[in-house]
């Protein structure tokens, strides 16, 4: 009886540990880097730049709204940025805007994420 109870106890704890381990998300590179950059805000531009492949400038408001700006991006690249912006999972994508840029067929982009 006691052995059975101890077995149930061990199984219960092991199962809980496995469930907790299973919850660890398999984050992709951008998400992992964004989580790291959350501790070092100066690095966030670099993270977005590496991920999108274009010069990016970001602005953070109230530590929750993160706006990422891309300037004078070609039409085909603008769509690529738009597509890639959806791959981020640790931030909630709120808005993606494409506006005419300075030159013809070039666009400025603003991607707005919300944290938490």
């Amino acid at each position: 009886m006691r052995a059975l109870l101890i077995l149930i106890f061990v199984i219960s704890f092991s199962a809980k540990i496995m469930v907790l381990d299973g919850k660890d998300p398999d984050l992709n590179e951008i998400d992992a880097r964004l989580l790291e950059a959350a501790k070092i805000p100066e690095k966030i531009d670099e993270v977005f730049q590496d991920f999108f492949g274009f010069e990016a400038k970001s602005k953070t408001e109230n530590e929750t709204i993160i706006s990422v700006f891309f300037e004078n991006v070609k039409e085909e690249d603008a769509l690529l940025v738009l597509q890639r912006s959806q791959e981020v999972k640790v931030l909630n994508l709120h808005k993606a805007s494409i506006m005419s840029g300075q030159s013809e067929k070039s666009y400025n982009l603003e991607i707005v994420y919300v944290a938490g």
Partner: protein, 273 residues
């Protein structure tokens, strides 16, 4: 001050005061007359329980605490037996065990509502027989030592089951503990769960289909608002939406489960939920 009642019968019982492990006789009388003092400890006189012993050599095993050695000897039914663990008596090399009728003890317990522990006299009280001289049955226990730590009968008949029940309930509780709300953080530490979002923009697909099927005006701006599930398409201000383009977009939205709104040079397409 601890009061101890020695139960002989309903008509005759004795009340003692326990001081420094010794019983001090206070008074005797019928049980009803002694209840006002609310004694919690009861000594069962030898007439109220059964005691027997068996030679150690006659047993070829060491009995467990929950083992009744005299089931064949006892005239009580198995369900009615309440027994204490076998006690090894080194002096005469025997296993001694005492037992009582559970129903009888229960009947006594009803008359003693404050009693918690029932001690067999021969187990808890020192030397009821002095040097082989049998004491008169009416002699009191005045001045004798009383071992409050001796084995006793539990009125609730759960003395032996109690620790096991506590163990079982404890283990079940511990087993369930990690699954109780908020408890895993205390046991395993904060889990720091990361909230993940589904950032796939349905409106982007709608726009792709729309732009592929229609000749849209020269774009000045395009906004995909994921939170509000809308697309805002801004055209150059000099562009005029003709009726044909409007109706084409409306027809598209009917099939693509979206609604459309025209504001000057802006088309707002909302995804229908």
């Amino acid at each position: 001050m601890t009061l101890v009642l020695r139960y002989l019968s309903d008509e005759t019982s004795e009340l003692y005061k326990l001081r420094r492990g010794k019983l001090n006789f206070l008074k005797t009388g019928p049980i009803d007359g002694l209840l006002s003092k609310k004694p919690r400890l009861v000594i069962l006189s030898d007439e109220n329980f059964v005691s027997s012993s068996i030679k150690i050599d006659d047993l070829n095993f060491t009995p467990d605490a929950d083992q009744f050695l005299f089931s064949e000897k006892s005239i009580l039914s198995a369900d009615d037996v309440l027994f204490n663990p076998p006690k090894k008596i080194d002096e005469n090399k025997t296993w001694q065990q005492v037992w009582v009728s559970a129903s009888k003890l229960k009947a006594v317990g009803v008359k003693l509502p404050h009693a918690q522990k029932f001690f067999p006299e021969s187990v808890a009280v020192e030397n009821t027989q002095m040097d082989g001289i049998v004491q008169p049955s009416n002699s009191t226990l005045d001045g004798r030592s009383f071992d409050i730590k001796a084995d006793f009968f539990d009125l609730k008949f759960s003395k032996k089951r109690k620790p096991q029940t506590i163990l079982i309930l404890g283990m079940i509780f511990l087993s369930a503990l990690p699954w109780l709300p908020y408890s895993s953080d205390f046991i395993f530490g904060p889990s720091d769960e990361i909230e993940l979002f589904d950032n796939s923009i349905r409106t982007l697909d709608i726009f792709s289909e729309l732009s592929a099927s229609l000749s849209l005006p020269d774009l000045k701006g395009l906004e995909f608002n994921h939170t509000n599930d809308l697309i805002r398409i801004k055209s150059n201000e000099d562009f005029i939406f003709d009726e044909e383009l409007r109706s084409q977009i409306e027809v598209f939205c009917e099939t693509a489960f979206c609604s459309v709104e025209f504001q000057d040079a802006t088309i707002i397409i909302r995804k229908n939920n």
